[in-house]
């Protein structure tokens, strides 16, 4: 800045010199304060940009965390369902086995029944033949008895025919039941294999990997969140220092303006 020196007496010259020195000192202080403001402004800008960057990273980390939590829940649900399937198929297999024991008993029973029935029917027929032969010799034999043995013969035929039907269907039942048992045993074995493959205890299983991903995403989120906290604190501090430097600059500028005005007025 240029200061006009007044060419008056020695005394006033000395006063002007002092004023000039004061103005120079003030100007220098303003320059220093401006430097401080510029420095702090640069820091604030840089840290604010960094904060925005970390904020973006945090929202990415947050999305990842939400997605991996969802995946973890989905796999947990799957594991739960597979465990249910395994348990229920084992129960169903036991039930089929029980049913199978019953049908085994039926097929043995029906075989015994048909054998006995045929034997008995033979006896009925034999008696029937004997009585009819006796009637031919002795007409006194009751007609009623003749009718009855005839009916018994018919009924025996009927019973055998019905029991044979029952025998056929019983064996069909046993056959389908055996198939059921085989199929259910297979389901149970497959369900167990499936359950084992998604077990958490396996090192490289779906739940263990998806849990690992979730844990990683949590750690990443926490780290980023901490980074944001640190940078936010830095930003607040830098902003406070900038404000202080700005106030200092403003007051020095005001002081310099006043001193200039005074110097020009004298």
């Amino acid at each position: 800045m240029k200061i006009h020196l007044s060419p008056h007496s020695q005394k006033s010259h000395g006063v002007t010199e002092a004023k000039k020195a004061e103005l120079d000192s003030l100007t220098s202080q303003v320059l220093d304060a401006q430097l401080a403001v510029d420095t702090h402004q640069a820091i604030v800008n840089s840290v604010a940009a960094k904060q925005a960057n970390i904020q973006t990273l945090l929202s990415i980390a947050d999305n990842n965390k939400v997605a991996s939590l969802n995946n973890r829940n989905v796999v947990n649900e799957l594991v739960q369902k597979v465990i249910e399937l395994k348990a229920n198929s084992a129960i169903a297999m036991a039930e089929t086995q029980t049913a199978n024991t019953c049908t085994d008993k039926i097929v043995t029973g029906i075989k015994t029944l048909i054998d006995r029935l045929i034997y008995s029917a033979e006896i009925v027929n034999k008696l029937s033949a004997l009585i009819i032969r006796r009637k031919a010799i002795n007409p006194l034999v009751s007609d009623n008895l003749i009718t009855m043995v005839g009916t018994a013969g018919n009924n025996a035929n009927n019973a055998i025919s019905l029991t044979l039907v029952a025998l056929t269907t019983s064996f069909a039942t046993q056959a389908s039941n055996t198939e059921s048992l085989a199929a259910m045993t297979l389901v149970s074995a497959k369900a167990k294999h499936f359950a084992d493959s998604v077990s958490v205890t396996q090192l490289q299983s779906l739940p263990s990997l998806l849990h690992e991903v979730y844990n990683d995403s949590c750690l990443q989120y926490d780290r980023t969140f901490n980074a944001l906290t640190i940078v936010t604190n830095q930003l607040n501090l830098a902003q406070a220092q900038l404000n202080k430097a700005q106030i200092n600059l403003q007051s020095l500028q005001a002081g310099l303006a006043a001193a200039n005005a005074a110097a020009l007025a004298s």
Binding site: S28, D32, S46, K50, I54, L57, A67, N71, V75, E77, L78, E84, L85, S89, A92, E95, A99, C102, T103, I106, G109, T112, L113, S120, I123, V124, I131, R134, V141, L145, M148, A152, N155, A159, V165, A166, T169, S170, A172, T173, A175, S176, N177, S180, A183, L186, V187, K190, F194, L206, L209, L210, E212, L219, D222, T224, N226, A227, I230, A238
Partner: protein, 544 residues
Amino acid sequence: MNPYNQNLNSAVCAVLQTQALTLKTLKAQHTASMFTLYYTQGAKIAATQNLVYAKSQLATHHIPIKQLANNATNLSANVLTSADQANQYVKQAVTNGAVAAANIQVAANAIIRLASDAESIFSIVSAADFDSEIYELAKKMRELLNETAYGAEQLAEDAMEASMKIAEVSAATVYDDAKNANLSACNLFKIVSAHFDAALQIVNAVSDSLTAVDIRENTAEGNYTDIETSVTAALAAYTSTNNTLNLNLNVVVNNVPGGYFSISFTPLHNPFKHDVANVNPIKAYFILLVKTSKAIAFNIIQAQQLHAINARCCVAVTESVSDKVLSQQISTETAWDADDEAIIPGNQYVAFIFAIFTDRYKKELNAFDDFLSAPSAPFAYSIPLNTPENSSIWVEDNNSNIIENAADLQISQAVKFSLPANTPGLAVEYRCIFLTVKKAGNEKLKKNTFGFIFNDVLAEAIASGNYGVAVPATGATNETITYNTAITPATTDNFGNPLIINNEYVPAILAVYSGGEAEKRAWYKPTLSDFYTTASFKYLASHY
């Protein structure tokens, strides 16, 4: 100087000035291309790191997860098919069981009717007094049919129970469970497939951007080396001109504490060697330091005036290296410029050689002017700041039993360094910058190698968010001070990328003047530690 010499001097000045200007322009371009190269290299490093990360995510998570989910889907589909089949068989068995039970009941009824017939026949036979053969046979028939009817009744009961047991088999539940498990597995597969596709897309995108950045880097590097070649050529031209036309006037700045300028030049000679008497036409040489801003205006008259009043800025040349080279050291602390002002660090100066011819030489030519050289290249002195030795920089982990990759272990690392204290009252900031190492130095490879260009100019330009300010240890009383920079999750490398766990970094320390006085900024030259030989460290997982 006589008019001829003045003309020569003007010509020399003009030539040197033109060449100096070319050199200056090229150097500015060189710096600009250096920054371009640096930032492109930074982009390449970030892209490479992104690719490594994206690939590792794909390899360690997305690929195995998708495969396992695919397996689970296959297994569940398999179980579902079997469960469906079992359910069908069981349904058939239930139907068959019911039919069989009903048939057995019907048969049992018929057998009971037969048994009752047998009973009636036996009654009549008993009453009618038949012979023993018929009686015995009827009795036997009655007994056999009674037993058979009893067995049939029992069997009918058992068949009913069997039918019940078959109906109790929970095949439908198992089938529903298998359907649910299959739905769940398919749903999971859909989700993880989408994630896999996204991850694959990221790898492709990052790979593409790396290719693009790589091309840009090659261009920037080519441009940088081109300009470097031009700078070298321009400097050679300037040196050659200065050598021939300006006494090879050269100033070396020694930036040591209480630094000095070493000024050397070739003495003037009589252009004709046979004139033995006048082989050395110079009585005395003086060196004058002039502010660069005033160099153009500085002329022989001013030099003569300064010499005439015996001004303290005229430094007489007293040393001589050889017949062909004269040299003089001028301490920055005791030197004065042509304005009779002390040498200020950071200000640019040029040197002039002022030579006084011998009286005999003057008389011979009948020219009584003396000689002033053209200005030297501008130079500046700056006060060096202390920076730690490479061996005094180390990284401390707060946990001595470190398990690598242990994500849940809390480790905090800090860069520490120690150095002699600076001048009391001098405000110096130590910036800790983390550089990604391409290959860490070892016994075979003495120096660290980096994937980017780096120097003090670039270090000074790093934004404040991308370095850590070291904090001096409190209560240090001795002359050596230890500084500490904590590494936090917010710590980044020089380009602003967050540090990557298990990657190698080298801490570089930049000392800068941090005092508030604007004019002193130019006094102190930022000093960078020797990051080529500083030991690298592995960044470990830290949570806090």
